[in-house]
Amino acid sequence: MIERSELEDILGPRVDEAPLGIVVGGSLSSGLQIKIDPRFSMEKLAVGRYVVIRGRQTSRRFFGIVTDIALDATNPDLVRRPPDLSEDFVLEVYSSEVAIGTLNVSLMLMLDEEQSEPRPVKTIPSHFSPTYEASAQDVECVFGEEDETHFYVGTPLDMEQVQVNIDLARFVERSSGVFGKSGTGKSFITRTVLTGIIKSGLAATLIFDMHNDYGWAVKDETGREFKGLRQLFPDGRVSVVTLDEDTSRARGSKIDRVLKIGYEQIEPEDVEMLSGLLGLSDVQTGALYYLRRTLGPSWIAKLLEIEKADEELQNLIESGRIVAGTLGAIQRKFEFFHRMGFLVPGRGDDAVEDIFLRLSNGTNVVLEFGNYGNTMAAYILVANYLTRRIHGRYVRQKNLASGGKADEPKPLVIVIEEAHKFLDPKIASHTIFGVIARELRKYNVTLLIVDQRPSGIDDEVMSQIGTRVTCLLDNEADIRAVFSGVSGASTLREVLARLDTRQQALILGHAVPMPVVIRTRDYDQSFYAAIGVTDESNLDDRAKMGIDSLYGE
């Protein structure tokens, strides 16, 4: 007989006291096997659901997630000799004793009687411990309440009354990732999480908005329009910087500045990441550094023949330090710069300093790429260019802060899309993004990578990702990549592979106490209202009321 636990006074009475099943085997690493009580319909169970196991030997409660559901038989011959479908009685008898259902449950947390906070699981419940479907109170107890640092991102499957709140402080503390096939709602959930970060003010964000998804209004495939971050926070907490003023204006986007990069501001390191896309060979890439050194800051202008340098180039070839073919190839490939309207001759302006200042003041910056978002090379060039310089400033300020000569820099989250282009195993070790991912929060800069091909990201980088928000992935390599570096998470594969294509995500890692499959929060009027955004028509009404009260009707 299992004694009534005092925990019930905390967690409230159970909705249904009958256990779902009992523990019959398994291990901490591979998950527990639960024999389903025949009174429960296994067809109503689903992977991703939570269960609570009451330890038989202690008052501990173990929280687990259903990772697999299986059919089993006490006699293996049953597979070859099933009863006839017309024999109802026989079928009913067999399906409760001989043919049984089992669950595989991956244990996540345990709650001791004397503690109110669940802790990571370090042991397993004993044989025959009763297993229950987790009640709303159980799940609420794990995910806590929404507050300044905990943001509501969705509800567990089949528990619409329960909120899953992610710990934003932990989310920004380490690099994070949002993964999923295209069309599974990555941008929506990213925007939701970013809204939470901006609202909490825990970190500033620099968003490289490749597809113009974050800054201003965005439409889904059905034509419905959703507010961008600049609209959700019209009080100046979000600045929109654009590379393509014309497109941004055409979209009606409110922009705070236009980014122009001077040729003289570009360094070989900025171009090196483009070598794959531009087709620069190793020799040509190596030559860039030599050209920069010998041609000076205006090396690109000289190579593009915007600035006259025939003689200098001729001298280089004659000195034998570079062959004419290599130089010619570089010049041809650099023609790409001509097409990038945001690149201007000369020294450019103080955009980097301006963006850095905005970020250090806690202002979030969305960098809209406009039409340049379709050019991967432009995205990589700009993201790399800005990130290198802003990271450099953060490093400097952090070092000054360590010496007591400056304030601690505001934590920064850099959001990059198509992250596998920056974090490819071949280049991740020496790109700024690889460096940021690996150095964790040392300099208060972390990444939020948004990607549909996590398998293309360097393993070492993936293992440093603290929180993973994963929409549907069905490629085996991608699924494997998402779980790399997460102990015991491989049992969640089935859960991930069976997410719905829309509005469902698996969140695991640093920012949640245990992995959770959520139906993501609706990004609609109710969300805007919860954030505190008033509808524009209401704003007009309020303005009119203000005018009336000032001047009389």
Binding site: N75, P83, F89, V90, V93, S96
Partner: protein
């Protein structure tokens, strides 16, 4: 009103595993295969519960001779069948015992003594005894008996005492208990469970 215990015979041989009873003339329904019966033991302190698994009639010289006769008159026939010299014997398997108004589902501490009266269980007693199905293993473990048929017959009889939904619940519960005990032998299990189906 107290239910009448029908006496169906007296003990002639017995052991811990069961007892054999004899009756001069069987009633139309008693004893019958799979019927629950009880016999007094321990000087009336306990009642051994048995399940009738065999009913036999030994031959005698007179019957053998008469069987060879060309024809028998109705009088001769009745005289031989009803004025019997050799009793009808029935064998019961011990499946539990009752002591101090409590049923116990294991072998009795002592067998009944010879000539102890053997009575059929009343429907109420049957119902009470079969509230628990712990007697099934004792049936299944009996050697050299038609245990599968015996089990089916006994459970069906116990089911008869219940009505409607309760009967079905009882049969399902009994079926599950059999499945739990016989899951290693699907052929046997199938015969038993099919025998329980209404």
């Amino acid at each position: 009103m107290e239910e009448v215990h029908a006496m169906i015979g007296r003990v002639t041989r017995c052991s811990i595993r069961g007892f054999v009873g004899a009756v001069r003339l069987p009633e139309p329904d008693l004893p019958s295969f799979g019927a629950f019966c009880k016999a007094e033991a321990q000087q009336g302190h306990s009642q051994v519960i048995g399940l009738i698994y065999d009913i036999s009639i030994e031959d005698d010289e007179f019957a053998r001779q008469m069987a060879t006769a060309e024809s028998l008159s109705p009088e001769q026939f009745s005289d031989h069948q009803y004025n019997r010299q050799v009793p009808v014997e029935f064998s019961a398997l011990a499946i539990g015992y009752q002591r101090d108004d409590q049923f116990h589902y294991n072998l009795p501490p002592q067998p009944p003594l010879t000539l102890a009266p053997i009575r059929a269980l009343t429907p109420a007693e049957r119902m009470a005894f079969t509230q628990r199905l712990d007697f099934i293993p004792l049936i299944l473990s009996a050697p050299n008996l038609p245990v599968d048929d015996l089990l089916t017959a006994a459970l069906r009889q116990a089911a008869q005492d219940r009505s409607g939904g309760e009967r079905r619940r009882f049969l399902l519960q009994a079926g599950r208990e059999c499945a739990r005990l016989l899951d290693r032998d699907l052929s046997r299990l199938h015969v038993v469970v099919r025998g329980l189906a209404e």
